[in-house]
């Protein structure tokens, strides 16, 4: 049984209510932070904890906090990014739905560390029910003196609001989120200036993921050094993994970093292996934006080392044989899954969600989607695979925000590892008419057709 930090109390009945949460040690970190610690000490302890941003990029939180511009004297803001829209990721929803006060507690401590007096939680429009839960929790926090003027008599004021987005994936990108919060069209801004210097209303802003902020209370109570002891190497602490796909026990799991992938996938405490006796075909370890991996690179890296659940280990091998832990959306496929259809589906998502600001992403995502649609529906040609490769290579790295990369990587990885499946779709359109064609004839059985 690994250590639980975020989900330790999540199963206590009624923990969603303020009274139960408080009785179980809630808001102690606010008391400790506001009464015993200075903002600098808090930032230092988060730096010492080595906590890395849980939104996907894995940027150290403490470092991000230390970049915030405190010299200019402008008001500062904390923006909690709850716009969790990545296909395959649903960990923040689990936290906010069942233990909303943990996020609010973390937001208060973090705002104090950043010396921010006005903070926001930006939640996606589809999470309207979670929005209501958070609203209620914030009201309870106000009523009990954890928010508002002069918190705990320390003279620290903080207002916290939940803002509901209108359902755009792009608003999970920090600058687009700031634009959206300002009431504008959710287009990512051109960086620099970074939000830490000029963010919300051109004032210094820190944007952090829900899970990162929810880890702050524990770090405050137990010190950063304690947190750094959990985990492995530069991947410290615990991580929520939202597992879905062809596995026995899908759901949200809190794991200690450094667990082997084999243990996570196959032990009964976690995923419990594949859903039936069909073999594993592919895995997306960190939400739809990261590279899909074939079985030979899942449990072992290209060097033959054990693959661990950590940022470094998943990234081992770069884009060629590695992937990324990303936001922890763990999607498992067995051999009935069609990678072409899956790639088309993801590509359709990015096409739909591209903001349309910069040309490579706006035009390229639509183009890729159309080509993949053709291949999936039996109208592909031999040149299409190379064309797809060419398009994705020209989108990647040439866009304003990472959505272009996120659209390009899944296509690149699918072609890199599962090229034969694309060729099978192109050469044998009569065999792929049925959506479940791999159920009867998995790739192993039809591979010899391609060799001819």
């Amino acid at each position: 049984m690994g250590k639980k930090i975020l989900t330790e109390k999540i199963n206590i009945p009624g923990i969603r209510e303020y009274d139960v949460y408080r009785q179980n040690g809630g808001y102690q970190s606010v008391e400790k932070a506001l009464k015993e610690m200075t903002p600098e000490q808090l930032v230092e302890s988060v730096k010492a904890s080595g906590l890395r941003g849980r939104g996907g990029a894995g940027f150290p939180v403490g470092l991000k906090w230390s970049f915030i511009d405190k010299k200019s004297g402008k008001p500062r803001h904390l923006l909690v990014n709850a716009d969790e829209s990545e296909p395959g990721t649903f960990k923040d929803r689990y936290l906010m739905e069942f233990i909303p006060h943990l996020l609010i507690e973390g937001a208060i401590v973090s705002s104090f560390a950043l010396e921010a007096n006005l903070s926001y939680i930006y939640i996606r429009g589809e999470y309207m029910f979670v929005f209501k839960i958070l609203e209620k929790a914030i009201k309870e926090a106000y009523a009990n003196g954890w928010l508002g003027k002069n918190i705990l008599g320390t003279g620290y004021d903080l207002d916290l609001y939940v803002h509901c987005g209108a359902g755009a994936y792009i608003c999970g990108e920090e600058t687009a989120q700031i634009e959206s919060l300002e009431g504008k069209r959710g287009n990512p801004r051109i960086k620099p200036p970074f939000p830490a210097v000029s963010g919300l209303w051109n004032e210094p802003t820190v944007v952090n993921n829900v899970e990162s902020i929810a880890s702050i209370p524990w770090i405050t109570l137990n010190s950063g050094e304690e947190y750094a002891k959990i985990g492995i190497g530069r991947s410290t602490g615990t991580k929520l993994i939202s597992a879905s796909g062809h596995i026995k026990n899908p759901g949200v799991y809190e794991i200690e970093m450094g667990m082997t992938v084999d243990e996570f996938m196959n032990s009964d405490e976690y995923l419990g292996g594949m859903i039936d006796d069909r073999p594993l075909k592919a895995l997306i370890p960190g939400g739809s934006s990261v590279q899909i991996l074939p079985p030979q690179y899942i449990f072992k890296t290209a060097n033959g080392e054990d693959r661990l659940m950590s940022y470094e280990s998943w990234a081992d091998g770069g884009p060629v044989t590695g992937s990324s832990l990303g936001s922890g959306g763990f999607i498992v496929y067995n051999d009935t899954a069609c990678i072409v259809r899956n790639t088309w589906n993801l590509s359709r998502f990015y096409h739909h969600e591209s903001c349309g600001q910069c040309s490579p992403c706006r035009e390229g995502t639509g183009w890729m989607e159309k080509i993949l649609y053709r291949i999936e529906h039996g109208q592909g040609t031999e040149e299409d695979v190379d064309l797809l490769w060419d398009i994705q290579s020209h989108i990647e790295g040439n866009t304003i925000c990472p959505l272009g990369d996120a659209a390009a990587w899944p296509v690149a990885a699918a072609i890199r590892h599962f090229r034969e499946e694309f060729e099978y779709h192109i050469r044998f359109p009569e065999k792929i008419k049925d959506r479940n064609h791999f159920r009867e004839q998995p790739m192993e059985k039809v591979r010899q057709l391609l060799a001819k």
Binding site: A168, I170, R185, I190, H351, H352, E353, S354, C355, G356, Q357, C358, S359, P360, R362, E363, G364, T365, G366, W367, K370, I371, R374, L387, H394, G397, N398, T399, I400
Partner: protein, 342 residues
């Protein structure tokens, strides 16, 4: 501050962008721009045409930047080294961006009023050996009536946001903007006939493609058949410095004067642009010169055709006198070479 672009070192003021520095150097180092407009604030970084490779970040931090950078929003650093026209990686990326811009573009240049002075046309012509790889159906949007002076064709739009920034910065109210997202995003005023600001006509000038064109000039003439005359008048609203596009004695259209990067020098008011279409209203200054390698130079009186250039026109396609044939056929030698030959 010193910045080196393609091996040319230049001294620039702090705050200069790489693009501005490249424009100071000139020649092949100048990146093409579709969305950047030096006269408008916060305009740029979107089209990705002006990508450059930064091989040395600055004197303090000499690491190269891993990604290509949009030169129009990248500030110059002391000791920065940039590759623009000399890097194959940059040229490939620009070519790819050109292709991206063209895939959903209707390519209706033969009926487009912007043809001849279109930045997208120029950009496409700089990337030679271009064959279309796009077999899919293009995204199309019905056009929309936005007012009596400006015609909006959304299909041709490349979403550079120039007209949006212009409406924000030059006119009191912005009544149009971008709707929807992704490749379905479109410029729209949402309400019919709503664009009626006194300076709205400048949207036509800043539009790099034929999405926003002059309604009063619509289908009247191809721009290369007109004579371009610099003129001015005493205008209470603007500087009154314009270019008259004339055919015989008729003033077909009035636009602001553009510089060598096809950016207007002074924004003009709608009164000058639409209401004074008589030569008597204007004080003529002389022929207008185009600095850019543009098809518009073909009929420009200021440039005489060099003797050693043979104009190849298929005799069968253009029947008639040899003199006429030479007049309307395009030159296939860049202007720089012509000027060298002088």
């Amino acid at each position: 501050m010193k910045i080196t672009i393609d091996g040319h070192t230049i001294e620039v003021e702090p705050g200069t962008t790489v693009l501005q520095a490249a424009r100071m150097i000139g020649g092949a180092s100048v990146p093409p721009t579709m969305c950047y407009y030096s006269k408008l604030k916060d305009c740029g970084g979107k089209c990705r045409c002006c990508l450059v490779e930064v091989t040395k970040g600055s004197e303090r931090d000499p690491r190269p930047m891993p990604k290509l950078q949009p030169s129009c929003v990248t500030g110059a650093q002391d000791g920065m080294e940039v590759l623009s026209g000399n890097s194959q990686r940059v040229l490939d990326a620009r070519k790819a961006v050109t292709e991206f811009l063209l895939i959903n573009h209707p390519l209706d240049c033969p009926v487009c009023d912007q043809a001849g002075e279109c930045n997208l046309q120029d950009l496409a012509m700089t990337n030679k050996e271009f064959t279309s790889r796009f077999k899919e159906q293009k995204v199309t949007t019905p056009s929309e009536d936005i007012g009596p002076y400006i015609s909006l064709n959304k299909n041709r739009c490349i979403l550079c946001y120039r007209c949006v920034k212009l409406a924000e910065q030059l006119t009191p109210d912005r009544v149009h903007g971008v709707l929807y997202r992704g490749d379905h995003a479109e410029i729209s005023a949402y309400i019919h006939n709503s664009i009626d600001s006194d300076f709205s006509g400048n949207m036509i000038d800043v539009c790099p493609v034929g999405a926003l064109t002059d309604r009063t000039f619509r289908f009247q003439s191809r721009v290369w058949f007109t004579k371009k005359i610099n003129a001015h008048r005493d205008c209470p609203h603007c500087t009154g410095k314009v270019v008259l596009w004339t055919f015989g004695n008729d003033v077909l259209r009035v636009t602001a004067r553009k510089d060598e990067f096809s950016e207007v020098e002074d924004f003009i008011c709608n009164e000058c642009r639409f209401d004074h279409k008589k030569k008597e209203d204007w004080v003529v200054e002389g022929p207008h010169k185009f600095g850019k390698n543009s098809v518009l130079n073909i009929n420009n009186n200021a440039l005489a055709a060099p003797k050693d250039v043979e104009i190849q026109t298929e005799k069968l396609t253009l029947a008639g006198r040899d003199v006429d044939r030479k007049k309307i056929s395009m030159r296939d030698v860049p202007i720089e070479q012509i000027e060298e030959n002088k």
